[in-house]
């Protein structure tokens, strides 16, 4: 197990370093650097001013040299300053990360808690009214565009009913209830979309498992339907679902751009978008690498979860 974790950590490190270069190069290849935009906005800027500013921001160096300088500084713990916000990258990143984690984490938990029972229920009563109802809800969740759902929720709960704020985030020091009020609509938007896909995966996986011999054996032994479904089948049905959930783990930290934009929620999705569009190399790079690293961690957690869910799976090359 220790060897497995070590190998995966090394693999992840290599992937992150390669990704850092790829992301840095892609951002660098985008036409128009920050100084180009400053020149467009400032008619009085002379050629020498522009050259001085390029030097100041290190934009006069070739891309590989800039990357090398960044990597050296990053490895020594200096992630640099955000060009857009004029603050250390982590000072900008961490609050956005916290906001995204709260929003996405709540939505994720809510979606899992609702979707798995729903999918299981639908699979345990195939072709029943319950199954059709869950399927309808799931397809609606998958198909509805997030911006439309978000706007509809705002119109109903903020404009017509006036129960909830239309967007934003509670101020520092606000009470829990106040905080929750601002979270309800964005969480509902994200969770609704996730519930659709998670419940479909759960249903499909559960249907597969319910056809297995050991389930038939359990039924033959007289176990009740609910015991068969919830105690015996669910655990095995969760293996493919866990893969999906683990892959979504990275999204918890990379935010949901559309939902965050519509609800003016200052999270990672918006921050990454703004930093890429604003040519903020340091911020965009670190934010994207964060998302990459967390996706890799999510995959690792999924592997560990397989072993916990299915004793036949032994990670690290042991005997099965």
């Amino acid at each position: 197990m220790r060897q497995f974790l070590l190998n995966r950590a090394l693999q992840s490190l290599v992937v992150i370093i390669i990704m850092s270069f790829v992301i840095y190069s892609l951002i660098g290849l985008m036409p128009g650097d920050p100084i180009d935009l400053m020149i467009s906005a400032n008619p009085n800027m002379t050629a020498s001013d522009a050259a001085a500013l390029r030097e100041l921001y290190g934009l006069d160096l070739p891309i590989y040299e800039r990357y090398w300088n960044w990597l050296g500084a990053a490895l020594s713990g200096d992630l640099g300053y955000s060009r857009l916000f004029g603050q250390p990258v982590l000072a900008v990143l961490l609050p956005a990360l916290k906001n995204s984690l709260i929003l996405m984490g709540t939505a994720f938990l809510l979606a899992v808690c609702i979707a798995i029972p729903l999918g299981t229920l639908a699979a345990s009563k195939p072709r029943s009214a319950v199954d059709y109802g869950v399927n309808l809800f799931a397809f609606a969740g998958i198909s509805i565009p997030s911006f439309w759902l978000a706007l509809m929720l705002i119109i109903v709960f903020s404009v017509f009913l006036g129960w909830l704020p239309a967007g934003g985030i509670a101020s520092n020091g606000a009470g829990l209830l106040e905080y929750v009020k601002y979270m309800v609509l964005p969480v509902a938007t994200i969770a609704t979309l996730s519930i659709g896909s998670y419940s479909r995966y759960t249903r499909s996986s559960m249907l597969e498992v319910l056809r297995q011999d050991y389930v038939r054996t359990a039924r033959a032994k007289g176990a009740s339907n609910s015991r068969v479904v919830w105690k015996h089948a669910l655990r095995n049905a969760m293996i493919p679902v866990v893969t999906i959930l683990a892959l979504d783990f990275g999204y918890l930290f990379s935010g949901a751009l559309v939902t965050e934009t519509i609800f003016s929620w200052p999270g990672m999705g918006k921050l990454i978008f703004d930093s890429v569009m604003g040519n903020d190399f340091n911020l965009a790079l670190v934010a994207l690498l964060f998302a990459t690293a967390l996706t890799l961690i999510g995959n690792l957690l999924a592997d560990i979860c397989y072993a916990l869910l299915d004793p036949r799976i032994v990670i690290g090359g042991g005997k099965a």
């Binding site: 935009l37 020149i39 004029g86 704020p165 003016s264 200052p266």
Partner: protein
């Protein structure tokens, strides 16, 4: 417990949970019209003295002299003031000075620079009671620091040229100072880009490491420090990317503002912005960074009676730059035909309900230097066709004109992708020009590519549709003077994207700059506008207005139409 009993228990628990959730939600409901301010203060009495504004952008840095962006200008108007300002009548006025210096009142004196060139010394006096938000008097030390930071090229200040021209700053006492400028121009007394910086806070940060100053400044590290601000309001809370809360400055020396607290919220999505104002989450939408005109018109048709909607035309000039290096467009007759072939007044009436006036040149008709003695191009299809015939585009094949060599009259137009209004305009223009036999092809790009590369490096082959925003009596040196043509040699500096180069035009621009009295400048201004209208390096389209959506109870908000934000007079805002 039997199975049915267990199920009953689950149902009971579910109902209990739902009831709790509903109760929690109900606790949050209140007066729909009362603004729900961050912090949860929905008390009706207090909310009367609160205002929540929605704008589409969050200021990335709040340092007053580093990086220019409209969102910062908007917020800064409430918390700081520049030395001079353009007022609502588009006249230069004092904002942080006691008397506007002029040659006539003796506060500006012509002199020679140390190099023996003509220069000018301009003296200002700061208001006696001007004080920082922490109670420290605002003095010339703070002006000196702003000057030192601006002059240091490693700080990345936004108006390097201004600091370079001010070759010396002379301090007389705590409140009086004189700047010495190395060039005599008519706008010698404008100091709209100079904001004092608190010496007692920022000097230490700057001197510790000027190169790192832009990162370590307290305007980024601790923006809620009251000592950074001296306007009617202080920034008391900031949530990066979301909102800024402004509260009264107890040391403000001017007229006391009405509102105790103003929250500025950034809402990028304009549909969400509309929902926010309808739900009462925000009270108003700032016109400087709010809905586009077509969106505001649609909003007015649905909800106009609930709000006071103000359209303020100003200095946002929508136009089409022409690449004069294109052989087709190098022919003036073709450029004229294009303009005659566009029914701009019809576009204004049909798309903008008459709120977006047609432009004749780059000088706004509201500007005191605008001239009416110029060629004007009303819609005239016959004249457009005649001009194209005259230019040799006579052979009409499949609805497109061709010349004697068989070359089609095909022109490309580019603009900013995602700007719905511009995309719509392009389509209308495409349709109108098709009627005179011009094959107009649309190719749009993301704004950062379009502005960062395409226009600057003249990668647009034909036409480029975008807007300029300027100040009153803005000399068009950067866009029309031959020395401002961006090239690889000058690192693509300058904004003369059309590449117009006419000695007569250069001379008129230089004369305007050097002539100190308005009466003497007017003939040169007229000359510039006449050449512009005759040569058409740019096809003028419209003067784009800002759309302010205000509650009926809010009074005193006066849009300016120019670069100075309405928030520069926030102390005039009140509830009635």
């Amino acid at each position: 417990m039997s199975l049915s009993g267990a199920r009953l228990a689950i149902v009971r628990r579910t109902i209990l949970l739902l009831a709790t959730a509903l109760a929690l939600t109900a606790c949050g409901s209140g007066d729909n019209n009362a603004p729900i301010a961050p912090g949860g203060d929905t008390d009706a009495d207090q909310s009367l003295r609160q205002l929540t504004i929605g704008i589409t952008q969050y200021p990335s840095t709040m340092h007053p002299n580093i990086e220019n962006m409209v969102a910062k200008t908007y917020v800064r108007g409430m918390a700081a003031r520049a030395i001079t300002i353009f007022n609502h009548d588009w006249e230069l006025a004092c904002s942080l000075c006691t008397e506007l210096p002029t040659i006539e009142n003796g506060l500006a004196v012509l002199e020679d620079t140390p190099d023996g060139n003509p220069g000018i010394a301009v003296s200002y006096e700061l208001p006696a009671k001007a004080t920082w938000g922490d109670g420290t008097p605002l003095t010339t030390k703070d002006i000196v620091l702003a000057y030192d930071v601006g002059r240091d090229t490693t700080t990345g200040s936004n108006n390097i040229e201004m600091y370079r021209r001010i070759y010396k700053l002379e301090v007389h006492d705590d409140k009086r100072f004189t700047i010495h400028i190395d060039k005599v121009t008519f706008d010698y007394n404008g100091l709209g880009d100079l904001y004092p910086l608190p010496d007692h806070i920022e000097r230490e940060v700057f001197e510790a490491d000027p190169y790192e100053y832009r990162h370590r400044t307290q305007y980024n590290a601790n923006v809620t420090n009251p000592g950074l601000w001296f306007g009617p309001y202080l920034i008391s809370e900031a949530q990066q990317g979301s909102y800024l809360v402004m509260t009264r400055n107890p040391h403000w020396y001017g007229k006391a503002p009405y509102f105790d607290r103003i929250t500025v919220r950034a809402i990028q999505n304009t549909s969400a912005m509309e929902a926010n104002i309808l739900s009462g989450t925000i009270d108003m939408i700032g016109g400087e960074l709010g809905l586009q005109l077509d969106q505001a018109l649609a909003f007015e048709s649905r909800h106009g009676e609930k709000f006071n909607i103000v359209y303020k035309p100003g200095l946002q000039y929508e136009h089409i730059d022409v690449n004069l290096q294109n052989p087709i467009l190098a022919d003036k007759r073709v450029r004229k035909a294009l303009l005659y072939g566009m029914d701009r007044e019809q576009m204004n009436q049909r798309i903008f309900s008459g709120n977006q006036p047609v432009a004749d040149t780059s000088v706004s008709p509201l500007d005191k230097v605008a001239s009416d003695n110029i060629v004007k191009y009303g819609y005239d299809k016959d004249k457009a066709m005649a001009l194209l015939d005259e230019a040799g585009w006579t052979d009409m094949r499949d609805g497109v004109r061709h010349n004697a060599e068989g070359q089609p009259l095909k022109i490309e137009i580019m603009s900013t992708a995602g700007n719905k209004t511009r995309e719509l305009l392009e389509q209308v223009i495409q349709g109108q020009l098709k009627e005179i036999g011009v094959d107009l092809r649309i190719r749009n790009e993301a704004p950062r590519v379009f502005f960062g590369q395409t226009t600057r490096e003249r990668r647009f082959t034909g036409l480029a549709l975008f807007a300029w925003t300027s100040a009153p009596e803005n000399v068009p040196r950067s866009t029309l003077h031959s020395s401002e043509i961006p090239t690889a040699e000058n690192n693509y500096s300058g904004q003369n994207y059309t590449t117009i180069s006419m000695p007569e035009l250069d001379a008129a621009i230089e004369a305007v700059e050097k002539t100190l009295t308005l009466e003497e400048r007017l003939p040169y201004w007229e000359k510039i506008q006449q050449i512009y209208a005759e040569e058409l390096p740019v096809l003028p389209l419209f003067w784009r207005p800002n759309s302010f959506i205000l509650p009926h109870w809010l009074k005193g908000v006066r849009p300016t139409g120019h670069l100075n934000s309405s928030t520069d007079w926030v102390e005039e805002w009140r509830r009635e």
